[in-house]
Amino acid sequence: MTKIVNPTSLGMPNGTTRPQLRIVIVGHVDHGKSTLVGRLLHETGGLPDGKLEMLKAVSARRGMPFEWSFLLDALQTERDQGITIDTTQIRFRTKLRDVILIDAPGHAEFLRNMITGASQADGAVLIVDALEGVRDQTRRHAYLLHLLGVKQVAVVVNKMDRVDFSALRFQAISDEISAHLIELGVTPAAVIPISARDGDGVATHTDRIGWYRGPTVVGALDALTPALALDELPLRLPVQAIYKFDDRRIVAGRVEAGHLAVGDDVVIMPAGKRAKIKSVERWSAMPLEGEHGAGRSVGITLDRELFVERGDVIAHAGAVPSYTRRLRARIFWLHDQPLTAGSSILVRLGVREVRGRVVAIEKAIDPGELASVETKQIARNHVGEIEVALAQPVAADRYIDNPRTGRLVIEVGGRIAGGGLVLSIDAAQRAVSSDIVPVQSALQPEERSARYRHQGAVVWFTGLPGSGKSTLARALEHRLFAKGGSPILLDGDTLRAGLNRDLGFSAADRSENVRRLAEMAGHLARNGHIAIVAAVSPSRGDRAEARSAVDTAFREIYVATPAEICEQRDPKGHYAKARAGDLPGFTGIANDYQAPETVELRIDTSTVDVGRAIDGIEDMLRQTQVLDDGAANLAAFEAVRVTA
């Protein structure tokens, strides 16, 4: 019978608490990263017995000269293609510490692996070929290190043997890359001339680089410091889950910053509810006393029953994160499809998941190019600054205030497509404060839709003045009402006469006008009505935000009547006034209308009459499940009768 070994009496091991340093090696594909890693392993005695001999034998069998990089190319497929294809982690030891080397591939297609690797690193080694010098990919990787928050960078100038160990050549490259890094806010810890193939400068100084006085690669790695402590920052405990496996109700999460202890007064954001930490739970020991610092996965109980959910952030009273539905971020983009204004995205801020929409793209550049190219979309492997509107309020910090809670990733189609740092949080777009308690309707949406035979929706007409928005809106209102529905017209100009009379026609006021329209329309839609909005709403970003606020109930119709015809019609006399100079900034002739790229429906009223146009709108609403299908409706009616 098996005897189970009980290791209680064993002494504690030594050698397992050495400081660990995670280093990513980045740089252009052919500049010798894998060779450097192979050489580092060899120089520090980290190679498994027989590995070198095995690889030498494999090389001989294939009739190829041995290369140090073969050590890493453990995959058959890699050898065939001759490039490293994914992030690999390799460990070795220096005198001072354990180093985990993250080898990130340099091939442009595999930038996502480089980011995967570099995001875990305490520091980086940026490799540059002495012959080829700084390349696009070198700059791109340097930029991403900066964006990922890797601040400790050692530069190695490799293949010095190819430039006869020229101190002049080294200095030229050193100056160029140092200037580039400093511009990004990164001061290189060292710039080291090496030949990874021959070993110069890797672990030892050699005569061939006798003119160099700085550290070797191993020396430079020993001089880097492990990741900073986050304990000093205000408490941030993002809630991963609430567990009720037994009679305890445990709020579980990892302390991302700061520290907590039993008895602390905390605030649960974004709702702003307050409580006290009753206990810190733990298996397999008694609940813990003392402070729990950043990095701990903890479970706490609170002194009162509050609604807490995954994605909330627990903070100390007086030092809470911001909460908002709108923020700006600097992001890198990894998806095949470029990110454009109006894109619908899923944002993950820590464990919080929230739908959002890109309201504007303010800057987009290829970090490999020196000049920034002005574009309105962020292509794959490029970076940019975006403004995002979120469907629900979130708790967030700016990256400069908290590197852990100030970063986000963007998901498209269930896959991480980009990530970035929170630059600013728009406090004007706050959620309702904790003092405001919205009262929900007494009726369920289903009760209303059973009566109206439609779902709640917002039908948003956008287009130039005089394009026919109001005419279509009124006709649609009539048609829906005649069929027993509950349409409600919200006309931009009508609302400006009352609710929105404090607003003018500046860009900011127009945005606010659209935001209020969307809020009101969304409220009606959530209560089962069909809100019909007719508003010029010239800004694509504003409309994207309206869609975001209304969410899936939004149906946008572009009334695409040609500008000349709109001006001929001029139903309100605005074009004439504007031409006379009496209406500055009038959209019809100021040429600032941003036509939609994708909409549910497009109607040109110069080619189709009102009745046909409304038929088209009805079809669209039926196809997009706003209007109940006749047959389905009957079936639902029967079902109700049966259950009744």
Binding site: T16, A285, G290
Partner: protein
């Protein structure tokens, strides 16, 4: 097992040692997996790594393991392993699910013998997946074990056939995981990917986690890694305690899986197995 491993309550501890950091990260991963997938199972191979993983799950979920412990049984494990399973599944309150592997005849005959035997386990795993409809499998692989495992993601999507596409792995950074497997496919979740063999032993000792005695040296030999009895060999060792194992590991440059025949049959045997869905 009696609870002899009560840790002393430590006052005002702010700093975390290396094992604390590994543990906290693993707990975070386990909780993310549990929050984001619908039907999880933990692959329990009965070895030192998956025992640590179960221990970490009990820490993450405060004494509970809220998903089945799945043992894909080749029927060829060491008797000590079966005894361990039957004893500790009860003691730890596990929802033990055992699925048996199909006959060796159903496995690709072009594979070398040991790899073929391992591929049989992959088939068993596929059958278990199909039967239970798990969308996430928690597996105790580690990056330092083997070169192809070093390339793994923490949340690693598998194709509908269970295969691993090493060339098209999604990005994974800042502890943000891709947790949306396409319909019919599943995810592998690797909570101890960042641990080393020495970490496993140090943690096992610190936490007083029971182990199968085959890991400790007897008559100058011990097993560093446990697989099927017919394709796993002991290594020369005098380490008869975990402390001695750690001293031995500190000096060794012999790979952990040296005693696992399937790693050595051909250059690419292991990778072929993993691409097809092996652990």
């Amino acid at each position: 097992m009696t609870s002899t491993n009560l840790e002393r309550v430590r006052p005002d501890v702010v700093s975390m040692d290396h094992l604390d950091q590994l543990e906290a990260q693993s707990i975070y991963i386990l909780r993310e997996g549990f929050a984001r997938l619908k039907k999880l199972a933990l692959l329990w191979s009965l070895g030192k790594d998956s025992n640590v993983m179960i221990w970490l799950a009990r820490k993450a979920f405060f004494g509970h393991v809220p998903f089945p412990a799945l043992h894909v049984d080749t029927g060829k494990k060491f008797p000590e392993m079966y005894a361990f399973r039957d004893h500790y599944s009860k003691e730890w309150g596990l929802d033990l699910t055992i699925e048996y592997c199909p006959s060796i005849d159903s496995v690709d005959p072009t594979l070398p013998p040991a790899a073929r035997s391992a591929a049989r386990k992959t088939e068993g795993l596929k059958l278990a997946l199909a039967k239970h409809g798990f969308d996430g499998l928690i597996a105790g692989i580690r990056r330092d074990e083997e070169a192809t495992r070093a390339k793994e993601r923490v949340f690693s999507p598998r194709g509908v056939e269970g295969g691993w596409d090493v060339r098209d792995q999604p990005p994974e950074f800042w502890d943000q995981f891709n947790a949306s497997p396409p319909p019919g496919a599943h995810l592998r979740i690797h909570p101890i990917l960042h641990w080393t063999e020495a970490d496993i032993w140090a943690y096992t000792a610190r936490e007083n986690i029971p182990i199968i005695p085959l890991y400790l040296a007897k008559d100058g030999k011990r097993y560093r890694s446990l697989g099927d009895a017919d394709i796993t060999n002991p290594v020369a060792s005098t380490a008869s305690t975990i402390a001695e194992i750690l001293v031995e590991l500190d000096g060794t440059t012999i790979p952990e899986r040296a005693g696992r025949a399937l790693d050595h049959e051909t250059e690419d045997a292991f990778e072929r197995l993993r691409v097809a869905g092996y652990l």
